[in-house]
Amino acid sequence: MRVVVVGGGPAGLAAADAAARAGAEVVLVDSERQLGGQYHRGTAQRADPRVRHLPESTAWAAEGLRLHVRTGPADSPHRTGRVLDADAVVLATGAHDRVVPFPGWDLPGVYTAGAAQALAKGHGVAVGRRVVVSGTGPFLLPVASSLLDVGATVTVLEANGVTGWARHPLAVPQKLPELARYARLLGRVRLRTAVVAAHGDDRVTSVTVARLRPDWTVCDGVRVAVDAVCVGHGFTPRLDLAVGLGCDLVDGFVRVDAVGATSVRGVYAAGEITGIGGADLAAAEGEVAGAAAARAPDPPIAALRAIRRGRRFAAALAAAHPVPTGRHGWLTPDTLLCRCEEVTVGDLHAALDRGAADGRTLKLVSRAGLGPCQGRTCGREVADLAAARLGHPLPDADAFHRRPFATPLRLGELAQHPEEDP
């Protein structure tokens, strides 16, 4: 019985360990050199010694329970190809920052909150001296905290208020100890405020900081000098492999049952690709999915309880930190939407006005989502803006998640005959 786990963050680690404890042969595929994912970055984690860990390894395609993997330095043409056959697969591919576009967001010096976190926690590097962290959600706090640790001066702008949490009293106490760690940020956080534009010639030198109404339309703004901006408006799940395998989605996440089984036989999912709820929930989901994938006789009871608790928090998080449509008013016709292909808001509207009414046509006519990142950065916003202008959602909203190649590959690598793993 072989279980292959994709992703070495909290969910994947817990899944690999649980499957190994249940007696399965476990292979853990992770693109990083050290285990732990984005959450534990800078503090390498260890898997159960029975787990075979493949570091610097990217699962670039899945065909049923067969995974295609390349191992070696990132984007090198000299990586080793490998084919892994599994009896069960656990997808724990995580999420990346969602960033809503605004004028100037493509200037150097504008980073995602996750980038600032990875550079500070992983490498001890500050993205700037005067930094504004802007967006919505509790993740802005650890990012600001890491920036303080590496010597930056930080202001945090939360676009929503905090009253949303008052409607979910049961969800809050479990996170209070974590919140207490960020007490030193108290005087640095401003609510209902956001960066709505970045300014500069070849790098950001100032931003427009605006007070927002609850729907995120702008009340008034002031210019503030900065040397870096970090933005995060929640997270987008990394669904490439799940969608490629044909897993059903619900509300933009992988649909799973109580033990993490997806709609595809033998394929399980855990962590942020099943819903955004943080590391504790991800680890509990991983433990349950790993045990189920290895056909352990009994599900882990404590983890199932942690999942119930974690999902309460996840629901409260989504309700308290919405990303409402007033943000569309921040855009100008020449604001870039697709950073790769340099497609502006005006270009998108022109494509819609020429009759593009579904995701696929919109991509082909406007070229949004057809660059190197394959729509990972802009896809969600392009779909939202198109829906707003058309008056209805795109009929094929998953067009921006459909990537038969989960990561780009060089043609020479594709031409090589990969080794099969015994």
Binding site: S31, R33, Q38, P73, A74, D75, S76, P77, H96, D97, D106, P108, G109, V110, Y111, T112, G114, A115, A116, Q117, A118, L119, G122, H123, V125, V127, D202, R203, R238, R339, C340, E341, E342, G371, P372, C373, R376, T377, P408
Partner: protein
């Protein structure tokens, strides 16, 4: 990097080394020639591309350099060689 020698601590990515040295951009876009550097920092956005030992389209935020690697800025879409 672009002819300048860099001492990079073990395990540090090309992007982290460049930002630590005060650089914010090292690529230009294909159409507009606009400057780009790190955006997502975790291998998703492909904004931070560099040319490593003549091979273009290497994500600086993911690549940990080896001793003697020759890295340079990437200008638009480049072909290997």
């Amino acid at each position: 990097m672009d002819g300048e020698p860099f001492d990079v601590p073990e395990g540090r990515t090309i992007a982290a080394a460049l930002i630590a040295a005060g650089r914010v951009s090292w690529r230009t876009t294909r159409a507009g020639g606009r400057p780009r550097g790190v955006f997502c920092g975790i291998g998703v956005c492909f904004d931070c591309l560099v040319v490593v030992n003549g091979v273009p389209d290497v994500r600086a935020c993911q690549r940990v350099p080896a001793d003697g690697d020759v890295v340079r800025s990437q200008r638009g879409a480049e072909l290997p060689g």
